[in-house]
């Protein structure tokens, strides 16, 4: 330690405890401080002043450090000024609502990618920060980030998940050796692994379950059977038949529910048989179907999933009927009547039976029957998602135009693919304006309008704006935003042209 360093340390000590308790050190001659006549505290203050200047001015510059590997040269050119400006706007001062903004950013990324362009460098950090909290945006990231973007992502842990390979995405990861590891997993892990494995390779998952059937717990057997949905086929039938004989009720029920979805199975044929015995065509003038309730189920029927009769509990025979209807193939009905599904439904007089048939249609995801049910006026809105797209939009339009009571229009409109067909948009617009405006529909639709109304509806939107109810500020904002959004979309498309 040089004399100056020693002096600096002594000054610090003296200052810490005070000059009253520790005499300030005399300055080394090299500093040429002449203050010996001053009182101690002044000498200490002068020392502190010199020490401050000395320490800062005398500090050495830290040595150079090693650089990181530089980014590779870009292949793609950056987006043009206009497109860049639009992305800047969206990311930093969005003129549109939060939801619309995410969609527009995704759209921007798609257009940039299709045009073979890349995000300008200076926007990468704000874009990556933006995407880090938004799955939809993160999924749209790719080649348009350019070499610089990939390089940058590698440097910042907060962004490291953004460009993961598809297989590495959380939630869809299948370990390659999951089949070997399965027997040793905890039951929670095993259920997840099985569900994932089933998605990736249905046959491998089935073989595994078959091989391990007698060694795994009843709970795991039931969970695994429930997870067979993806890739369910006739090949799964032997395993499901075996499960019908399982000791555990939960496994048997799971198997029966799975078999409900396999109308070509032997069990379905047995159920069809049971159903046929209960259904008669009656009437000469107006032919209709009469459906009897079944007798108390025998052992075979119970094995197939009908609820076992219990001593002392009076079970309504309709319970068994419902189970038979839901398990029998829908074709059983048309076979009995010799008519189309629509005509067959007309012959069913019993509302309960119609309801169970509808459940069966929903289980099988049968499009033809779904159309028939809707034509028949069955109000179940779950049928909507089985319909062909164009048909679905028309029906939704009818529902919006007609009475909205009793239907969860908000849910329906939220789930409807966007942008809405123009007819649907027009129908909604009509219902929310004028004197007889439907306030609850207005509230339901307002948050959706900006992203759902198509650009061709501009005249209708403008017309609606002038005819909104007084208190409908939310709709006014939503429609104004819709117009802005359309304008923004147009400029987006033009910017990449």
């Amino acid at each position: 330690m040089s004399s100056v360093d020693q002096w600096l340390a002594d000054v610090a000590t003296s200052a810490l405890v005070g000059s009253a308790r520790r005499e300030p050190p005399p300055a080394p001659d090299v500093l040429a401080l002449d203050a010996a006549d001053e009182p101690a505290e002044h000498r200490l203050l002068a020392s502190a002043a010199v020490a401050d200047a000395l320490t800062r001015a005398g500090a050495t510059l830290p040595p150079p450090s090693d650089a990181v590997l530089a980014a590779a040269a870009e292949v793609r050119p950056p987006t043009g000024d206009r497109a860049t400006q639009l992305l800047t706007l969206l990311l930093t001062q969005s003129p549109v609502s939060r939801q619309a903004r995410d969609e527009l950013v995704v759209e921007w990324l798609r257009l940039a990618d299709e045009a073979g362009l890349r995000v300008p460098w200076h926007l990468l950090p704000v874009l990556l920060d933006f995407a880090a909290g938004r799955r939809a945006v993160a999924e749209a990231l790719g080649a348009q980030l350019g070499e610089r973007g990939r390089w940058l992502v590698g440097l910042n842990e907060a962004w490291s998940d953004l460009l993961g390979d598809d297989a590495a995405e959380p939630g869809s990861a299948v370990e390659l050796d999951w089949v070997e590891a399965w027997p040793t997993m905890s039951s929670a892990e095993a259920v997840t692994a099985f569900a994932l494995g089933r998605r990736a390779d249905p046959a491998a998952a089935r073989d595994l379950l078959e091989a391990q059937w007698s060694t795994v717990s009843a709970k795991l057997r039931a969970d695994a059977v429930r997870a067979l949905g993806p890739g369910l086929s006739a090949a799964d039938e032997p395993l499901l038949e075996r499960a019908l004989d399982d000791r555990a009720k939960s496994v048997r029920e799971a198997a029966a529910a799975m078999l409900d979805r396999l109308p070509g199975s032997a069990r379905a044929a047995r159920m069809a048989d049971r159903l046929r015995r209960l259904v008669q065509v009656r009437g000469t003038l107006v032919r209709h179907l009469e459906v009897d309730v079944p007798d108390t189920p025998d052992e075979a029927a119970v094995r197939d999933g009908l609820t076992a009769p219990a001593r002392g509990v009076a079970l309504a025979p309709t319970v068994w009927l419902s189970q038979v209807v839901r398990a029998a193939p829908l074709s059983t009905w048309t076979d009995i009547t010799g008519r189309s599904p629509a005509a067959t439904l007309k012959m069913v007089r019993d509302a309960d039976v119609l309801g169970w048939i509808t459940e069966a249609v929903l289980d099988r995801r049968d499009t033809d029957w779904a159309v028939a049910c809707v034509d028949h006026g069955i109000p179940d809105q779950r049928l909507l998602w089985l319909l062909p797209e164009e048909r679905r939009a028309r029906l939704l339009t009818d529902w919006v135009t007609g009475s909205t009571a009793g239907r969860d229009l908000r849910g329906l409109l939220t789930q409807a693919p966007r942008p809405w067909p123009d007819d649907l948009g027009r129908a909604v617009l009509t219902r929310i304006q004028g004197e007889k405006a439907d306030a609850s529909l207005g509230h339901a639709a307002a948050p959706l309008l900006p992203v759902a109304l198509g650009p061709r509806l501009a005249p209708e939107i403008n017309a609606a704006l002038s005819r909104l109810p007084e208190d409908a500020g939310h709709l006014r904002r939503a429609l104004t935003e819709t117009l802005q959004l359309h304008a923004f979309r147009t400029s987006l498309t033009e910017a990449f042209r």
Binding site: L16, E41, L44, A49, A57, V68, A70, Q93
Partner: protein, 432 residues
């Protein structure tokens, strides 16, 4: 006046949400009776109420007026009007709307009044000398009082001072304010909070106390100082020179190149520092201040070559300066003036401290530097050395535009850290 660019409009917004709100309003729909002249933009905006808001913007100030009740300043209406204007949607109009004209006239009158007042008082040098004498007496007494307080502080020791309540520092600072020594007061207040916030508080406080002693000693010796040193010690104690005093002194015409700019906001005061370089290498800093609710001057774009006269405050280089007129002729350049190495900047910092030990901030036009990782932090490095980046530096933007290659960066060196303000690339200058 040339129309502003979209980013210039953005810069005057008080916050991002105001700007977002303004974008929504920046459509012709709600606007009526818009127009603009060389210096004014005006229009009426239909809000949710019955009467439309009357919005006027004085482009020179810039100053804003709107009849809306918003406390944001400028409000979204004024911003929206500016957006429309910058996009060329608003036409030059021969006739200024009555409300805008009235406001502009009022402003012009107000602006003229203090000037008249100043010239009115000027002829009485005796009164002025007396006032000056009084002020100096008060300051001298304040400095003497401060030195007694400092002596007490070190007699009892820094460790004991640290156990004092915040009022200990605040009272000392208040006495300095009363003695018209506001810059010293600010340092004392800051120390009062830093002494608890910092880990190496003892070294920090020892440095500060030493610096306060230096400043107060220099003040007491001021009669032996030359004009440059006197100006420096005036800044250090907070005896500001008014822009009126400086305006006509030591004017230097352009072109001045904007090296970079930074805005800070400590909650009470916003500050904007714009670093300018002349062709011969002289560097000055234009400082703008605005209190809460006021708007800072329009920022100048880094890399712009401004055709403007700059008046320089007295003091050591790099000097403070002000624009005598609103700058015009923003022709962009991309070659960073005065490129140098970290070692050179470091040596210059030491020279500056040798002359004015309490000054800390120095412009640093660095050539071919890279950002390099240092644990979870980043440093700026060239072949001669490296410095840590200042807290809050835009690391990721700097990395994104440089890609890890050496680039020219302008920034400030302060207290052993580097704060990057603009990246000078081959074909563009990116303000950070």
């Amino acid at each position: 006046m040339t129309r502003w660019s979209a980013s210039q409009v953005t810069e005057v917004a008080p916050d991002a949400s105001s700007m977002a709100a303004a974008r929504k309003l920046a459509v012709p729909g709600p606007w009526r009776e818009t127009g603009c002249s060389d210096v004014l933009v005006w229009g009426q905006c239909q809000g949710s109420g019955k009467t439309p808001y009357q919005v006027s913007v004085d482009l020179v100030g810039p100053a804003y007026r709107c009849s809306c009740p918003s406390r944001k300043f400028p409000c979204k209406h004024a911003l929206a009007l500016l957006v429309l204007w910058s996009e060329g949607v608003i036409d030059e109009s021969g006739r200024i709307a009555a409300f805008a004209d009235e406001w502009a006239t009022q402003r012009a009158e107000r602006a003229a009044t203090p000037a008249r007042g100043a010239t009115g008082r000027a002829p009485d040098p005796a009164a002025r000398a007396k006032r000056l004498e009084q002020r100096l007496a008060r300051m001298d007494a304040g400095v003497e009082d401060f030195r007694l307080w400092l002596a007490d502080l070190v007699r009892g020791g820094l460790a004991a001072a640290r156990t004092q309540p915040y009022s200990y520092w605040d009272t000392a600072a208040a006495r300095l304010v009363d003695a018209q020594l506001p810059a010293l007061a600010e340092r004392v207040r800051e120390a009062g909070s830093q002494v608890h916030a910092r880990r190496e508080w003892a070294a920090y406080l020892l440095s500060e106390v030493g610096r306060w002693w230096t400043i107060s000693s220099v003040w007491q010796a001021r009669e032996r100082l030359d004009d440059v040193d006197l100006a420096e010690v005036r800044v250090a104690v907070g005896w500001a020179q008014s822009s009126e005093e400086v305006r006509d002194d030591d004017v230097r015409p352009g072109p001045w190149t904007v090296l970079g700019a930074v805005r800070t906001d400590d909650g009470k005061l916003q500050q904007q520092r714009t670093w300018l370089a002349h062709d011969d290498g002289e560097v000055v800093a234009v400082l703008d201040f605005a209190g809460y609710g006021q708007a800072l001057a329009v920022p100048q774009l880094s890399g712009a070559r401004l055709d403007v006269d700059v008046a320089r405050y007295p003091g050591a280089a790099p000097r403070r300066a002000l624009f005598r007129d609103p700058p015009t002729g923003a022709e962009p350049v991309t070659a960073l003036p005065g490129r140098t190495s970290l070692a050179e900047v470091h040596a210059e910092a030491a020279r500056l401290l040798g002359r004015t030990p309490w000054r800390e901030r120095l412009p640093a036009p660095l050539a071919d530097v890279r950002l390099v990782p240092d644990g979870s932090q980043w440093r700026v490095s060239d072949a001669t050395g490296s410095l840590p980046l200042a807290d809050g530096s835009p690391v990721w933007t700097l990395l994104a535009v440089s890609g890890g290659e050496p680039v020219d960066v302008f920034g400030e060196v302060e207290a052993g850290t580097f704060r990057p303000l603009a990246v000078w690339l081959d074909d563009q200058v990116v303000g950070l």
